[in-house]
């Protein structure tokens, strides 16, 4: 089963060709650098860029895969959650392509894409590896963290998800973005804060961790406000020790995420802990979670943590394989995992 998959939920235009939900034959991603100037994503600008890029990227993905449309079995696209104007570009392009090529269209929940990114592996030089990595064991606890989402999910089986908790205010990635802006580091904040934190002392400034007792929900706004207040105090005294603030913030936020993830893994009989989303590329977060759990931890390589078409192709395969389960087709900005 070979799937052409399209992702346009936010500011990356991704097109991929994926076989059997696992082997990546092509995975092209155009990141929209335009947003670096504005320090955030402008939905209208993002939607325009998607439309401008999508057809050429599709052509390139098919070329990279060395496959014509005749050798494709289904076309998939993200239908939510995400920016509505952006989702509409990818979903309508993919539906048009599927209809015209006589192929089934598969609507994919973006969050499922982040989960199934853990099933993917690259095909180097055209030949699949003799011993592909084993599939992740399920049931699993999955933490999806990015600029748009912070979700803790129990994956009971393929396409069977039970939401455990989510952010009640900012997404984890947004907190990184805001702190990065505060420290003058730029956008997107995740990798920039991580780099700045390398040379800093994570214990320089104690920061509060909102404890939502007995719940798996997250809150990052208190932490963000505390960082803001601390930076203002430091500014009054002289130059801000950027590395120390970045390291202290990173330690606080990774501890919040790791503590809930580890507790969820301990309280539910699971085989594995899986990560997904752009913030999952953060090495301090991985280390903190690995330290606290007694389970194997799976994290996709960084370029599969951020939004891409391959993860949508992987998720689409499992949608088709588990046909009894619900498949969304209509585009919804606020779609949840079910």
């Amino acid at each position: 089963m070979r799937i052409l998959a399209i992702e346009t939920s936010c500011d990356e235009t991704g097109v991929a060709v994926v076989e059997d939900g696992r082997r990546i034959r092509a995975n092209v991603v155009a990141s929209q650098l335009v947003h670096q100037d504005t320090g955030g994503i402008v939905p209208e600008v993002a939607a325009r860029e998607h439309l401008r890029a999508i057809d050429a990227l599709t052509e390139q993905a098919l070329r990279d895969a060395g496959r014509g449309l005749k050798e494709i079995d289904a076309v998939a696209a993200t239908v939510g959650p995400g920016l509505i104007g952006c989702l509409l570009v990818g979903a309508n392009y993919a539906r048009g392509l599927a209809l015209a090529a006589g192929l089934p269209f598969v609507g994919v929940n973006h969050l499922e894409g982040h989960v199934y990114a853990n099933w993917l592996y690259e095909v180097a030089g055209g030949e699949p590896p003799a011993d592909p990595p084993p599939e992740p064991q399920i049931p699993a606890v999955v933490l999806i963290v990015s600029g748009a989402h912070s979700d803790l999910v129990l994956m009971e089986g393929h396409r069977r998800f039970r939401p455990l908790g989510r952010t009640i205010d900012d997404a984890a990635g947004e907190a990184f973005d805001k702190v990065a802006r505060l420290l003058g580091l730029g956008f997107p904040g995740g990798p920039l804060v991580e780099r700045a934190a390398k040379d800093g002392d994570p214990n320089a400034f104690p920061l509060p961790r909102a404890v939502l007792a007995d719940r798996y929900d997250f809150s990052f706004s208190g932490l963000k406000t505390a960082v803001l207040r601390r930076v203002r105090e430091l500014e009054a005294k002289g130059p801000v020790p950027v590395a120390d603030v970045a390291a202290s913030f990173q330690k606080a936020i990774t501890e919040i995420l790791a503590e809930k993830t580890a507790r969820a893994a301990a309280e539910h009989a699971v085989e594995t802990v899986l990560l997904g989303g752009g913030v999952a590329a953060n090495l301090a977060l991985r280390a903190e979670i690995a330290k606290r759990i007694g389970h194997p931890l799976r994290v996709p390589p960084p370029r599969l943590c951020t939004d891409n078409g391959a993860m949508i192709g992987a998720a689409a395969f499992f949608v088709l394989r588990h046909r009894g389960t619900e498949m969304p087709v209509a585009v919804r900005s606020d779609m949840k995992l079910a």
Binding site: L51, A56, Y93, R95, G96, L99, A100, A101, A330
Partner: protein
Amino acid sequence: MLLALDTSTSWASVALFDGRDVLAEETWQAQRRQGDELFPAIERILVNTRTAFSAVTRVAVATGPGSFTGLRVAIAAGQGIARGSGAALVGVSTLDVLAYPHALSKQRTCPLLPAGRDIYYAAFYQERNRRWLRRSPLMVATLPEICRQIGTHTLFVGEIGPETESTLRDLLGPKALFAPPASRMRRAGYLAELGWKELETRTQVKMSEIEPLYVRQPSIRVSFDQTFAAPPADERALGLPKRS
């Protein structure tokens, strides 16, 4: 066979055209649901006309002006179809589609589309030397600003609510003419005719060149200096329906 797709505003329309006749057409008030309702509508007209998708070798999409999000729905769908089957794709201005059915009226015709906050998209069309042409640049302006450009009897078409109609009557008196509501509407059958003609005379442009007409929405200013982004020639004949 040509498939025409128009999701420029809250009104959406799709049509199937065989080069001479419109075989099926569906026009509906989609509000903001164009993105979800476009494909079911396409599938319905294919089923109703017993047409296999493989017979569709041409696609025409409305490129605006209109709602940016709405415009992208049909254009993205058209690009996907062209990629999927190799069908030829053409973009046609939404105002051209609105004006075209009135080519034989002999009147100066002004299609109007709401651009938000008392602002309208508009342009003037008129027959001259048996050629039906767009006679003005694209206007993005208030009704008084548009009416200041009008000295002669003008037929208004497009999305004109009761308030807009009475404002135009106040501003222009007997010079303001109105087509019956049903014939003011945008219908993809006309888009199909225009798109077909365009493809007869022009070779396929690059797919990425078919873009929405992203007109800056001024809060108040007239932008008479603003020309149509594409197609470029103001002098381009849009073709007259054959006289019998």
